[in-house]
Amino acid sequence: MLIVEHLTHTFLNGSEETTVLQDINFRVEKAEIVALLGSSGSGKSTLLNLMAGLMKPTRGTISIAGQAIEKMNENTLAEFRRTHIGFIFQSYELIPHLTVRENVELPLVFQGVRKKERKEKAMALLEQVGLGQKAEMFPSQLSGGQQQRVSIARSLVTRPAVVFADEPTGNLDTKTEQEIIDLILGLNESLGITFVIVTHEPEVAKRTKRVIYLRDGRLVEGWGETE
């Protein structure tokens, strides 16, 4: 499903070259849920951005659903993201002037899906995340946890191959954090969609079946088995 091979990423810091990721190799199987754990500056956000096609790697390959994304141009990548990738942001990033339902429908709008079909799909997902009753509300009328649920529903509406969640509980209190993780785990199981959750919180990582641990841009094998 998701295959990362010999991924290295460097950037120029003035005249000095800094290596953020060094020869990363791992694969995530279909319907698997994986936590990408690491402290601040470990390179986990860079890895997420590379996997989501928002950055081009210096070396190595990233393959999602059999397609090498590092070779795609911007438009092809947009097309690919639209159909294969879902994204959950730490700050939810809902469009404030659109209703909850319209926010969930947005990726389908970019796909050119008809209104009726969009509405059906969005409503089904909103029911699944427990916000069916709040479909016509605006994001500002919802709590942080509810907004993140909307964001999760939006990431799944196109039935993507993989969903990348960037610190999905970073802005939430502990109770809501647990609810969101429960929701993601439940959706992973019920929908069979692959999830890659980037987090710096071991408690969140521990809830997943597998953890990929990054330290100083390198992959640390066996984390979780020994912790």
């Binding site: 951005n49 989501a52 928002l54 950055m55 911007e74 438009n75 947009a78 097309e79 993201r81 639209r82 159909t83 990738i85 994204f87 942001f89 700050s91 990033e93 469009i95 002037h97 659109l98 947005l106 990726p107 709008v109 970019f110 796909q111 050119g112 008809r114 209104k115 939006r154 196109t158």
Partner: protein, 448 residues
Amino acid sequence: MRWRDYFRLGWDQLKRRKVVTALCAIGIAIGSSSIIVALSFGESVTHYSQQRMSYYLKTDEISVQNLFVDNPDEPDKPVIEKITGQKMDLIRSLPHVKAVAGYANIGSFDFIVDEDKRGGVELVATELNTLTEFDNEFQQGGETDADNTIIISYGVTLDVFDEKAAKIRSMQGERGGRTANPREEQLLSYPLYQKQITLYKEQSMGDGTTKRIEFPVRVVGVLKKPEGMPDSMIRYQKQAYISPALGIKIREAMKTLSPDSQQNEFQEIDEVKVKVDQSANVPQVEKWIQSMKLNTNTNLHQEERMKNEFVIVRLVFGGIGLFVLFVASISIVVAMTMSTYQRRRQIGIMKVLGANLKQIRNMFIVESTLLGLLGGLLGILLSYWVIWGINILVYKFSEGSGGDELLFISFWVLPVGLFFAVLTGVLSGIYPAIKASRTDALTAIKRD
């Protein structure tokens, strides 16, 4: 992505930023209404002038006279191709011809009415029942078949000289030493309708005597005062119309005044006027009449000259409108570019969610197009108010003398105004749209 969704998202954005939307729309509205008003102004003035031209210059009329053809045998005596009754009948049967009437200029006559009021007329003999067909309207009375009747222009009723009042004034002047022109003071606007007036002409004879001919006639009609013409001009329009039969009678009598004069060779008709349904058909009808060996005159060349002048007027007004629109478009570019910057994060999120460059670009262009459309619709409304306001001002300043409204908006001008407004929206949206589409998604979604 469907166009309907582009429009919905664009409209949502406009609704969300009400103040900016309102300001930009007002800018475009002013620009497009300038174009609408400019074009309408140009068209209205052209239309008004054409109406006036048609009224004063009679561009839909053809004046037909005898044709003088060179005679190679006797160069001093050209051959005269005369207007005959047969030719007039033929002209009447031509397509587009509305009316035909013969005119004979009898000459200047003085008249006396109510014993001591005097005035002057230019007598024209014609079929009185054709007057209305040549755009003459009656203020009082109308056409009649009765003998010894006369129909006068409004100008004849002005400047009637009151002899009795003049004498009194003159006497007062001698006593009081007044210096004002006594004649000026005794000119009256005098009601002549249904009055019996006596037309007369005097001629000093060789033996020192004065010969006078008189024709009592009844004023059966007074023609309407010409619109938009000051009294100072109207007072010189002294035409009075009598029947051809009376015309012949007067001419016969005139022969006795100067038996030796060349004027004795009167013709029954000096010229024929032909009324055509519209000035566009005048050249064709004129051609047909010329083929009957008759001389023709029209005022069409005046209309052409005026038309050319009005093209320039329209261009000038249109140019002003375009300039205003250009200035207004700058406000859209600024507002949309600012909006691009403010919405960088949103654009970034949309890109992460799968929006491609084209979709982001189209979103912004549709938004600015909607802004243009909104401005254009407002512009139409605004231009109606402006035209309405100008008409009220014109009406007030002309003291309500005008009948129809001077300025009007033709239906074809509205799409033109709307087109320029939308075009402004589209063009102004291009730069912000390109800028928005080039927003780097990663940079945009990063939080400090």
